[in-house]
């Protein structure tokens, strides 16, 4: 290694370490200011509980087992709704891209429903499916469907025609073409859509639980509001933030492990069509 390269390497390491400590001090400053404001007496500490109080309440909730139960219930709903919504979105997206007639027939209808914020369907879902599990899962599946659908459609439609013709001239047709050419080519878009779908599922699970449930993080927040435990509301918020972060990093690690080439050309899919 030349001296120059070594110096550059050391510099880069120093920069990374520098950024890390800056980040730590940023988060620390945020927490200290929050703690300070809460304890200052300018505002009611019940309205804005300090981080130390929130951590204490989180520990209490965790020890009693309630926290785990809330999280597990939410996770289960989100996963089931996500599975239904993303699979149907994927299937319809691919089908519509492969069958132009189906696309021109269905597109206006799907686009129309996509324009309505899925949250606005909460009252309707309750009306049709009651306040039980069905309405929640239908709502989540409905919301997840659109981002997955639109990205699966775009990705499948925009596969490189050269590759398609090359495969066709080698005799690939039907499912072979789909499985070995179209799907791998559409994968960056599909992945981007699935990623938006994950965050949509987490948003909608909260929305559906706010309107009534037995357990769930959204329900925890709603219930705590009614009994004025703002500290418990913050515990719920932090759990949601952590879940979102956790899923996103899991997703990224899975990508790096199973699809290591993804990201080399993902600028194309950097800004997928989305709508929560």
């Amino acid at each position: 290694m030349s001296t120059q390269a070594r110096t550059a390497g050391i510099l880069r390491g120093q920069l990374a370490r520098h950024a890390f400590w800056l980040g730590v001090s940023g988060v620390a400053a945020f927490l200290v200011v929050w703690e300070g404001v809460s304890r200052s007496g300018w505002i009611n500490p019940i309205m804005l509980p300090a981080p130390s109080v929130v951590i204490q309440s989180a520990a209490e909730l965790a020890v009693s087992g309630a926290l785990l139960r809330h999280v597990l219930e939410s996770l289960w709903r989100a996963l089931l709704g996500f599975a239904i919504g993303s699979i149907s979105g994927l299937l319809l997206g691919i089908a519509m891209a492969r069958l132009p007639k189906l696309h021109s027939f269905l597109n206006p209808l799907v686009q129309f429903f996509r324009a309505i914020p899925s949250l606005a369907f909460v009252p309707l879902a309750i009306f049709w499916f009651g306040i039980g599990e069905t309405s929640k899962i239908v709502l989540i599946a409905f919301g997840v469907f659109f981002p997955v659908w639109v990205n699966a459609y775009l990705g499948t439609r925009d596969t490189n025609p050269l590759l398609r013709r090359a495969a066709a001239s080698l005799g690939a047709r039907g499912w072979r073409m789909l499985l070995f050419l179209i799907l791998p080519a559409a994968l960056p878009f599909i992945i981007a859509g699935v990623r938006i779908g994950i965050s949509t599922a987490l948003v909608l699970v909260v929305a559906s639980e706010l309107t009534g449930a037995q357990f769930g993080v959204g329900y925890l927040i709603q219930l705590s509001q009614q009994v004025f435990r703002v500290d418990h509301m913050f515990v719920g918020l932090i759990m949601l933030g952590m879940l979102g972060f956790l899923f996103d990093s899991l997703f990224e690690r899975g990508l790096a492990k199973w699809l290591p080439w993804y990201g080399t050309e993902n600028d194309r899919a950097l800004q997928p069509a989305s709508r929560p």
Partner: protein
């Protein structure tokens, strides 16, 4: 009827409405639960001629506008700062990345505790929903700027301010506009969250009230209005952005 590709797009919505109307006439389902399109259209007309339609629309749009513009302005300003200054980025990025995954709807109960049912709470929610997306787009857009252009401008003696406003910002604008466009969708959905949880007027508020009064026709009309308004704002934004960032529209 020469070309089926030209006819088909005009078929799906009428067919969907016709089937729906037919199902309702035949009373295959309870028409009170699934009001037919005609009922919905009558409810829609009634909503805007005799009802609170315009007033609701005005309230909802003013909330979206207040939250959207303040959130977008703050997002762009802070994104420019974190995008150009490594110290600002190092300090703020982890804090924002920590707060960003919390869905704005989960804030609704907290906002009610803090602000009550005032307008401040609604503005805050829309602001919260818009801010992070715009910030991230601006931050990434500035950071991905072409290093060569920056060096060229710097070697020609551009000051920091000139560099920012003449080179870095225009280069980042296409990415910023993508963020701004996504934020339009986000702002409408946070608005719905804010209004469903308690308001005195607004399109989504009327949805909730219609549900409680079992006025399914009016509820569907409300959904229709929401869809049209959010689709129209998206279209309008696209038009404006094609004009403004004509070299690379989102």
């Amino acid at each position: 009827m020469s070309n089926p590709a030209k006819v088909l797009p005009w078929l799906s919505i009428p067919l969907f409405l016709a089937v729906w109307q037919g199902v309702s006439w035949l009373e295959l389902v309870n028409p009170a639960l699934f009001p037919p399109p005609l009922t919905v259209i009558i409810a829609l007309a009634d909503y805007f001629t005799h009802g609170e339609g315009w007033q609701d629309l005005r309230w909802s749009l003013s909330r979206v506008a207040a939250g959207y513009f303040s959130g977008a302005a703050a997002g762009i300003a802070i994104g420019l700062a974190t995008g150009t200054r490594p110290v600002a980025s190092g300090l703020l990025t982890p804090v924002f990345q920590m707060l960003r995954p919390i869905p704005p709807i989960a804030f609704v109960p907290v906002v009610i505790v803090w602000f009550g049912l005032t307008e401040w709470g609604k503005w805050f929610l829309v602001f919260w929903g818009v801010f992070f997306g715009v910030w991230l787009a601006t931050h990434l857009g500035v950071q991905r700027g072409n290093e060569t252009l920056i060096r060229a401008a710097a070697s020609l003696g551009a000051s920091r301010r000139q560099l920012l406003f003449a080179v870095q910002l225009p280069a980042a604008l296409p990415v910023i506009f993508v963020g701004l466009r996504t934020a339009i969708g986000t702002s409408f959905y946070t608005l719905v969250a804010a209004e469903l949880s308690g308001a005195f007027a607004g399109i989504a508020y009327r949805l909730e009230i219609s549900q409680q009064n079992f006025q399914m026709g009016r509820m569907m009309a409300g959904l229709l209005v929401l869809g049209i308004v959010s689709a129209l704002s998206d279209r309008l934004f696209q038009k404006i952005s094609r004009h403004l960032v004509h070299w690379n529209p989102p």
